[in-house]
Symmetry: C2
Subunit: 248 residues, 2 copies
């Protein structure tokens, strides 16, 4: 299978983000990792711990993008409903994974602790899922077709993602260059639009900023074509120099 333009979406399952209690720290990390592998990160959603909402979002996103990542909701408590929702989305049952059970059993045996039903729950996945190693705690993540189900705790999510990345199709790398100048964005807007039109294979983004009362603009050029990047960057620099000074 060769997919030259693999795409991805992230589904953050978490009441705690929507209530404002917690700030998500996973999106940015996943964005940077996907970028390094040339996978286009197209969309991210945060949704509540509601069965129908999770099932619907999983089914929409997995049909639309090459890969879907989910974070959150795979722990042992009653509010961890991701696995039952993924199973429903794929129309399969939830089953125990013998490998995970064995590993957890010996872990708890060693510590003289019980393998409670709640702990067994963390060894369950939708039928057909392939486990994703969790080197930090015991509860694994898993892959179900193009859907990768990960923990929400950043450190664990990052470890899982590291083992997932080599499994993903590589896409064309996106090269980028940032050019910063102390000019007003609205002063250069129409000229910048001309540059964008001259280099249609690049994506030119313009981000105004205000650092301690000093206004300026950061122009970011992104493209898979290195020579287009160099040419567009020259054009942007020339334009910005006509209206102010480059910074950095």
């Amino acid at each position: 299978m060769t997919d030259t333009n693999p795409t991805a979406a992230l589904l953050i399952i978490g009441n705690e983000i929507l209530s404002g209690r917690t700030q998500d720290k996973n999106l940015n990390h996943i964005a940077l990792q996907l970028n390094e592998r040339g996978i286009r990160f197209m969309e991210s959603r945060v949704i509540a711990d509601i069965h129908e909402d999770i099932i619907e979002a999983v089914n929409i996103l997995r049909a639309r993008y090459s890969y879907v990542f989910t974070t959150g909701g795979i722990g042992p408590t009653h509010d961890d409903i991701t696995t039952e929702c993924i199973a429903k989305a794929f129309n399969v049952e939830v089953v125990e994974q013998p490998d995970a059970i064995n590993r957890m059993q010996s872990y708890y045996d060693e510590r003289g602790q019980e393998m409670t039903p709640a702990r067994r729950r963390m060894a369950c996945t939708p039928k057909g899922a392939v486990l994703i190693d969790n080197p930090i705690t015991l509860a694994p993540g898993y892959r179900m077709e193009n859907v990768f189900v990960m923990a929400g705790i950043p450190k664990i999510m990052q470890a899982m993602l590291e083992s997932i990345m080599p499994l993903l199709e590589k896409g064309q790398l996106m090269h980028s260059q940032e050019i910063v100048a102390n000019v007003s964005e609205s002063a250069i807007a129409s000229y910048l639009s001309d540059v964008q039109n001259r280099y249609p294979d690049t994506e030119i983004g313009s981000y105004p900023f205000n650092n301690d009362g000093r206004y300026g603009v950061s122009v970011v050029i992104r493209t898979t074509d290195k020579s287009a990047l160099a040419e567009a960057a020259e054009a942007v620099k020339t334009l910005l120099r006509q209206h102010g000074d480059l910074v950095g």
Copy 2:
């Protein structure tokens, strides 16, 4: 109009979030503000600067929730496409807003600067929109029915949100209590589930943490019913004390 359970969604329009260049800082602020007004924050999406994607998301979200907030894409440059997309979503044209034009005209006149087409663009909204004041820079946000279109720069977004909040229907306030203990989440999971079943009008969330190698769990109870909150909190405290010590 009385809507006792107003809901809301946030649409973050921004390639720069998906590329990993920028970390969103608006979601958490909006979450906390909505919470204070008793409005249920149900969903947030980050999408790319792609016309069809923006139009589709706006139409889905505005049909589903009482209020939709968008951030990003209302500046003067070619990559600011939010306004034309909102207009298409509502099937109206983009028009200049005389009030905004006048204010900008006198601002630029005072400074001997030109009212360029790019600057005029920031005074444009979909036909029928009501302006939202921007006390920091000149370019206004706007309301189009139940959709509130705001700037992406956090300081400006926050100022716009402040003037929007009094316009929104109040919902039932969600009260919450957090109880932290140094117990393993999997040890209390089944008992916590019993507590949840006994207090169905509360939402009990369980969040494990690891601070410098010390594992513990934070249990958050949320409900609009103050007496249910007090009772459920007592039950959770009793449960956690049976398995470890409360923290704080």
